[in-house]
Symmetry: C2
Subunit: 186 residues, 2 copies
């Protein structure tokens, strides 16, 4: 979001056929809940186009790209890596520290902060990812959903401010209604 | 969760083949993030078994059932109905009121509260659902994911306390780790 260091999401292990909707939901959740961009690993070109089409219609800024070499992307990341996994440390125990590093509150000489990469896997994640992550974080230590974990993580990181995020260059805008649907041309 | 009025989730419109993983993720997210039960509409027997198997392994209490008549289920619901939709009112504007109704804070004579049903659809939701809902609520007015919406809604309703929910009668327990995986027999 504006005025804060970059937050990107890396979606690992997309399997064509099997993961289409989950990967799309990861990308759309990243966009809706305040991330600046999503990087999809693997053969996810169709998913990239789905997410880009939503950005085209409902606004941005939001970038979506694919990578064939997620290991290299992770190794080259210039900031903090947070891997979301049910095996990690409870979100509520580490979120203040993560936010502090992200906003550089712990380094008062710096006003630039540290870019944050949130990593979500599909079925099985290589051990290397656990190793390179600065934090392995669990949104509960229960099995559920990478989409749910990403959503709660971003909402906690942004402390709910992302819910009021404004998008620019939209073609269409939803006007909130107590009942029914209202969509207007922007 | 314990000591609060019931929170149930109704998953509408499950389409066999197409919605298998999304419906499973809705069920598992409901369980992990503090709901007491999930009701799956349509031919979701396999999904019911997947969610029940996780409860068997990682603990409960959590109920999962199916219904062939979601309209009747909705009409018979004895409490509040919250329909999650991108067309609704912003979560941040209505969550305090919803929580207050749920906990019966607005009716000091009552200490029982009001059961809450959170409704999430698949692709297209009948207009009747918008009409019978006490609140149509948007977790952002952007297109993203019913799993993400449900996760953020429950986390806001429970004010994050669900992240520390304890499960009973588990066969296996994940022990949080800074790096790697540790699962123990309970």
């Amino acid at each position: 979001m504006q005025d804060t260091p970059e937050v990107a999401v890396l979606r690992l292990g997309h399997r064509p056929g099997r993961d289409e909707r989950m990967t799309t939901h990861v990308g759309l959740t990243a966009r809706a809940l305040g991330a600046d961009r999503v990087v999809l690993a693997g053969a996810a070109t169709d998913r990239r186009e789905s997410v880009a089409a939503v950005t085209e219609r409902f606004g941005g800024p939001f970038d979506v790209t694919t990578t064939d070499d997620p290991e290299a992307f992770l190794a080259a990341w210039p900031g903090t890596v947070v891997h979301l996994t049910m095996y990690g440390l409870p979100l509520q125990d580490v979120e203040a520290e993560i936010r502090s590093r992200w906003l550089a509150e712990e380094a008062p000489d710096s006003d630039t902060g540290t870019p944050l990469l949130a990593v979500v896997g599909a079925e099985k994640v290589a051990f290397e990812v656990y190793r390179v992550a600065d934090w392995n974080v669990a949104v509960t230590n229960q099995p559920h959903s990478e989409v749910a974990s990403l959503a709660v993580f971003l909402d906690h990181l942004f402390e709910g401010r992302e819910l009021g995020r404004e998008f620019t260059d939209a073609e269409r805008v939803v006007v909130p209604q107590a009942e029914g649907k209202r969509v207007e041309d922007a």
